[in-house]
C-alpha cells in the first residue's frame, strides 16, 4: 500500500471526528490532529481503533502516543502494513 493510499483512508477516518471544517478542507501530512482539526482528545482512542480495523494492524499505546500529525499516522501505519 502506498503512502498516498494510506493518507486517503486516514483522512476519511478522522473526518467524522474533526470539529474544524476549514482545517479539514486543507488537510495535509503536516496537519495536527488535535490542534488543527480540533479532534476531542478522548476521540483519539476511537481514531486509533479505527486505524487498527481499517488496516488490520495492532497499534501499541506507545506508538499511538507518538502520533500528533496526519503524517505521523501515515508513517506509523505504513511501517506496519509494509
Amino acid at each position: 500500500m502506498t503512502k498516498d493510499e494510506i493518507l486517503e483512508r486516514v483522512i476519511e477516518i478522522v473526518r467524522p471526528y474533526a470539529k474544524d471544517d476549514d482545517a479539514m478542507e486543507v488537510i495535509s501530512l503536516e496537519t495536527n490532529i488535535l490542534q488543527d482539526l480540533k479532534v476531542n482528545s478522548a476521540r483519539l482512542v476511537d481514531v486509533i481503533l479505527a486505524f487498527e480495523d481499517e488496516f488490520d494492524i495492532e497499534v501499541e499505546d506507545e506508538d499511538a502516543d507518538a502520533v500528533d500529525t496526519v503524517g505521523d499516522a501515515v508513517e506509523l501505519i505504513h511501517g506496519k502494513v509494509g
Binding site: A42, R43, L49, D61
Partner: protein, 158 residues
C-alpha cells in the same frame, strides 16, 4: 494502571456502588446486581418527588431523556469503570481519578414515569488507554426497552 504499586482488587457490587461519586439527588443507581470485567447490571427507581418532574412537564411528569442517559452513563461508564480500574490498580487508582463522560449515541423508545423502576444492563465494548465504551440498555419491569445507548468515558487523574 502504571505508576502505582497498589495491587488490583475485584470489587463486590456493593463496593462499586459505595465508590460511585454521584450522590443524592443526582445518583440514579439504587443497587448493582452484578458486575464483572465484561458487564454490569443495576437497578433504579425514579423518585416521584424528584424536582425535575415539576417542570418536565407540569401535569404530565415524564423522566427527561438526558436523565435516562445519565443513569445509563452512571452504570455503564462510571460504575463499570470503577470496577475495571480497581481490578488494574486497586482502590487507590479509583480514588485518584475523576470520571468524565466523553461521548454517546442514544435511542429512546419508551417513556419512564415517576415511580417506575428500571434495569440497566451494560456490556463492555472496549477499555483501552483509559477510555471505556459500553453498549447499554434500560428496561422497565414489563421487559420493554426504553433506551439503548453506546456510552463512553475516561478516568482522568485529579
Amino acid at each position: 494502571m502504571t505508576g502505582s504499586d497498589s495491587v488490583g482488587v475485584v470489587l463486590r457490587p456493593d463496593e462499586v456502588l459505595e465508590l460511585l461519586p454521584q450522590k443524592d439527588p443526582f445518583r440514579f443507581v439504587d443497587e448493582i446486581i452484578e458486575v464483572d470485567e465484561e458487564h454490569i447490571k443495576a437497578r433504579y427507581r425514579f423518585r416521584p418527588e424528584a424536582d425535575f418532574y415539576r417542570g418536565h412537564f407540569p401535569d404530565n411528569p415524564v423522566t427527561p431523556g438526558v436523565i435516562l442517559l445519565e443513569a445509563i452513563a452512571q452504570v455503564g461508564v462510571v460504575a463499570l469503570g470503577i470496577f475495571l480500574i480497581a481490578q488494574e490498580g486497586g482502590r487507590t487508582e479509583v480514588e485518584r481519578r475523576v470520571s468524565v463522560f466523553t461521548d454517546a449515541e442514544v435511542d429512546f423508545s419508551g417513556v419512564v414515569k415517576p415511580g417506575d423502576a428500571v434495569t440497566i444492563s451494560a456490556t463492555k465494548v472496549f477499555f483501552r488507554r483509559g477510555k471505556l465504551r459500553s453498549k447499554a440498555e434500560m428496561t422497565l419491569d414489563d421487559g420493554s426497552v426504553v433506551c439503548t445507548a453506546t456510552v463512553s468515558g475516561m478516568g482522568v487523574l485529579q
